[in-house]
Subunit: 308 residues, 2 copies
Amino acid sequence: MSPINLAIVGVGKIVRDQHLPSIAANPDFKLIATASRHGTVDGIESFTAIEDMLKAVPAIDAVSLCMPPQYRYEAAHKALSAGKHVFLEKPPGATLSEVADLEDLAKSKGVSLFASWHSRYAPAVEAAKSFLGSTKINSVHVIWKEDVRHWHPNQEWIWQAGGLGVFDPGINALSIVTHILPKAIFLTGATLEFPENRDAPIAADLHFKNADDLPIHAEFDWRQTGKQSWDIVAETDAGQMVLADGGAKLTINGELKSSEPEQEYPSLYRRFAEIVKAGTSDVDLAPLRHVADAFMLGRRKFVEAFHD
Amino acid sequence: MSPINLAIVGVGKIVRDQHLPSIAANPDFKLIATASRHGTVDGIESFTAIEDMLKAVPAIDAVSLCMPPQYRYEAAHKALSAGKHVFLEKPPGATLSEVADLEDLAKSKGVSLFASWHSRYAPAVEAAKSFLGSTKINSVHVIWKEDVRHWHPNQEWIWQAGGLGVFDPGINALSIVTHILPKAIFLTGATLEFPENRDAPIAADLHFKNADDLPIHAEFDWRQTGKQSWDIVAETDAGQMVLADGGAKLTINGELKSSEPEQEYPSLYRRFAEIVKAGTSDVDLAPLRHVADAFMLGRRKFVEAFHD
């Protein structure tokens, strides 16, 4: 089978850091065009608008959309309408409703839509899921605390309404939690801290449970300096499980069970090729639905202004 | 067929005003028990807790849940687990995720779950839907402005996080709009006004569109004194359509097309009997999903304190 001719829209940091190397290493894909207001990729035909690209390069089979979520629907709608498969960076959109609409469109066009959640492909996630499925879980504590100045310097879109604020990393935790826990969870209470000069929260404290009353407490904070934390701790009948470093490292009762090199984006592109070949879509809205639930149910608290 | 033995949980204003007369007038239902912290119904066996009621009255076939949405999941889970059909007052829950969980539970138990949207059964709604389906729509304007002091005097739960504030009436408008428009809509921008002493918004300004770029503007406001407005105005190629009085009255180009007596709750109970007999569920989350989207995407603005 000849490779899938791929185009990228929105050439920024995540594309250079993750998408380009993963695509280059995957024989299922061939990058043939980009569309971006500013960014280009050396040696690849570039456009500033997706509609121009789609018109000029009919050989495109699939499109990866990597612009901020507030602008993703328009591009996805154009690509799907033109019969292209679509890979959505996370989060898949600015609203749940627009992604539901894209899902219907992909189905009616007979093309694949992929709502990607890279953290679900972190190396120790499957081992954690399998451990949790084998025992009784008594509580879960999620600690996702990082320094926004380091990870998102001067990224204005992330602070705008719809940019999700601390839920931009936090949704990675939610994508793992919803994947590794055996039962569906739902929010029972939340506090969201908004800097008084920003439209998106800088911290969130979330309480979930499932139908069995399992308590799940999640703390997201963007003000963490020093050691960064991306940990999921579960107390179980078989002892304490710590899934650390964003899903990279699994420890059970202090014993290291898994610590493999990170392969998230290469795995995402393998999955994308798989669904394109199978003629299916992969759109799980649960992580974004929990974020929307947190904004709807959460109490708002104002905290001191944030300046980059 | 013998009537469906029904219980009501959460006996308050909406139950006395709407549920009781609708149930009394429908031979498909027989009210046999209630559970409520304070309210009772004359001549009907009453309990203070749903679990006591379910244990003491095994003849119950179905339960209508009318408590505030923040407390609905627990009760719904107990009723569905006990094999009872469930009627959820609007909104169906405090989060989207819990309702998705209830949907799965109803399916696994083989019972019916009904997420009710009473405004969809307002008398002129179907005529409006049929008119809009027959022409090209150019814009839609939704004006839902009422006096919260009049309609929700001292209802504290409505102002708490999860109580939805002005979206409690606004979701009625959204339930109609999502039903009468031929294509799915999604939010593109929103402003939510929170009284500085409250956890829920008192006003919201919402912009939606659909895949065809149809502009839909909705204004929800709880500070309206004097004339109350529950109107949906559409400019179309066949002229101006006004669906007024919360769906009760349809006017096209100034000509009155439909104005029938209100039958919302009787229609809801007819629909509930229909799905119970058919062994199906009726759970459309679109209205609540738009509300969650508005909280997630919307800008928050603080306005003067609100006192009842």
